[in-house]
Assembly symmetry: C2
Homo-oligomer: 360 residues x 2
DNA sequence: TCCTCATATACTCAATCTGAGCAAATGATG
DNA sequence: CATCATTTGCTCAGATTGAGTATATGAGGA
């Protein structure tokens, strides 16, 4: 998504123009010099998100890595013989590994950086990861044959602002990132990074110096921590930056391979999309109260919303219609039940839950 | 992008659950049964867009297919040995084929549907296409060693509304799509399509029955025409739908393989993004007048904007600052020159040119 | 039974934003 | 020197937004 992701490898591209023997003739059947070790494998990865009450969760499978269990997203290779499309491949892998049949799913991004896959051995095929975001309503009765729901914010403790600004930001993250940005090597300029300086990135990502918090920058924040060597995945890769933090704790719970990066992409995309497309309803039961809807949106965004305005927006926006029933035992006055008006999809070009965060 | 792209293969996924011999064990190094014909090749494709005055253009290379030249996007396979990342691979291919060094580039989507690549022969490796959007300022002096700039709207004549609603819509497209939707087989329900009926899709895409035109739905419109067999690429694939239109002209200029689909994705994404990120400036010279800026935005969006409001938004939004100079010979009062204020990227979370189309 | 509590729902209001228009300024052109 | 095309400044009503106040209603405990 990020405008700042766009120049990732400007530098490299400009330097090794990498002229080969191949002529100006193009065509995908030229140049089949794909020898064994360079073969490509496409990994399909699903970030399946649900929301139980006000608790956003991600479906993980446990993956033993060096005798230590590590959380992983459901994933598997794309095999064209068996899977007609990328998305059917994904759905089949998920069903096979977890027993879950996906509903809403959208492609996120295709990651191809060498060196983000913890592969020591270069004889392995090169892996490219395609990440998907899937949304599922939470249903206790659905029997999973594999996998577990895990709270999303255990992986990104700095992303949940519902009980105020997470202490970890000012007490741990910002100080250590500040130390890191002071180390920006003047002699060895940043390679493969964004057009921004480390200091600017810190400001934009964590809203220091009064810059405001942008809840959509989930991936940018994770990548910044990764580059600074402050997440386990970076240490695993033996980035030199990580060494200086020896013995200090790293941030958030780690995942297998680049799965936490995919999850960060998924959460960022969902936070953005929830504002202009009616995707929240994929997380809701058929009938719900406006308060439940709000709690779900807040859980995803990681912040609180102004209640009365939220109701006004959702109702007047034609996103929902009352079912006629009410829900009692809410701890207060009974709440009207609503259902999603799927007709809005035909009526308005970008119907969504447009909201602004408050620091309530 | 599309919310409606998300359920593409729900049906298939639900039906052939495709249980195999593989256990619940996951891991990307299991199942290397990739035999010759099923090998995967990743194609990198660049939709490089520029704008000369009010003329949006795409960089193409000519590709001989069956003795007939066909426009293609610069593209080539991703070879992990030579390319550190997907994006460097793309940049190298573009430089090699056209002599152009890309600036801004962002990944769009990874297409993997079998059968959209005009491959008769199943012994070819299966091709997955990763599409990129790149933006370049138009500079006559830049010498291209290959490739040509082509007007974008030659490929999508229905997308340019700057001289009013294109006649092709009401006179050709809607009548033929209407005939097509009447043919919706009740016995053989739509497979692998969106959750919407053909009639609903026609309404949403082409704004019939008073539904308004959404300029961002470029891909959805192209896909609808494709499914209806109304573009050459569909006919090429021998879709049965195409046969009924024999001898009637198909819509827009065709491209090689699935390149027009990638271009449609690129234009749709650019139209969306121009409204919330300052990407237009990648298409502008360093100094420009507000009128030139507006003309460029209008060229991309394919519609006219209210001039005074456009200026107000751009200026008060802090996106630009005056250089102090003026441009004369504009045919009227000399215009102040402006430059992009790149600091906005640090200040505001989503600085863009938020605009609404008018039917001027 | 009745009071308290928590939530639901309704309504208000000022500040801002948006869409659309008019009018004067200014240099080029014939 | 009048005309023209464009820039630039300004107005104004209607819609939207952010935030606050007040009342309704059922649950649960004293």
């Amino acid at each position: 998504m990020g405008h700042d992701m766009s120049r990732h490898d400007d530098v490299c591209a400009a330097q090794n123009t990498d002229k080969t023997h191949r002529e100006g003739i193009i065509g995908s059947d030229a140049g089949h010099d794909r020898s064994g070790p360079a073969a490509i494998e496409i990994g399909l990865n699903a970030a399946i998100i649900t929301c139980a009450k006000d608790n956003p969760q991600i479906l993980t499978v446990r993956q033993p890595v060096d005798d230590r269990p590590l959380e992983a997203l459901p994933f598997g290779p794309f095999t064209p013989i068996r899977h007609r499309t990328l998305e059917t491949g994904l759905r089949n892998w998920v069903a096979e590994q977890t027993g879950l049949h996906l509903g809403y799913a959208e492609q996120l991004y295709t990651f191809g950086d060498r060196g983000r896959h913890a592969r020591a051995d270069d004889n392995e095929p090169h892996a490219v990861s395609i990440g998907y975001l899937a949304l599922n309503r939470f249903d206790e009765s659905t029997a999973l044959t594999g996998g577990h729901w895990q709270g999303i914010y255990a992986f990104f403790p700095w992303e949940d602002w519902r009980s105020g600004k997470p202490e970890i930001i000012d007490e741990e993250i910002v100080p250590r990132l500040t130390r890191w940005l002071a180390d920006q090597p003047a002699d060895r300029p940043e390679v493969a990074a964004s057009p921004f300086s480390r200091a600017d990135r810190l400001r934009m990502c964590f809203g220091t110096d009064g810059t405001q918090w942008d809840e959509e920058k989930v991936l940018e924040r994770y990548e910044l921590l990764f580059e600074a060597g402050l997440v386990e995945e970076a240490a695993r890769e033996g980035r030199e930056a990580a060494s200086q933090w020896e013995s200090l704790p790293l941030f958030g719970r780690a995942m297998h391979l680049d799965h936490r990066r995919i999850l960060a992409t998924a959460l960022g995309r969902l936070r953005a999309k929830i504002k202009y497309r009616p995707v929240v309803f994929e997380l809701m039961d058929a009938d719900f109260t406006l308060f439940e809807l709000q709690k779900t949106v807040e859980a995803i965004l990681g912040s609180h919303l102004h209640k009365q305005n939220f109701r006004r927006l959702v109702e007047s926006g034609g996103l929902v219609e009352p079912t006629g029933d009410v829900r009692t035992h809410t701890g207060g006055r009974p709440a009207k039940l609503f259902r999603f008006r799927s007709e809005v999809l035909l009526e308005r070009p970008a119907p969504g839950v447009r909201v602004h965060a408050t620091l309530n």
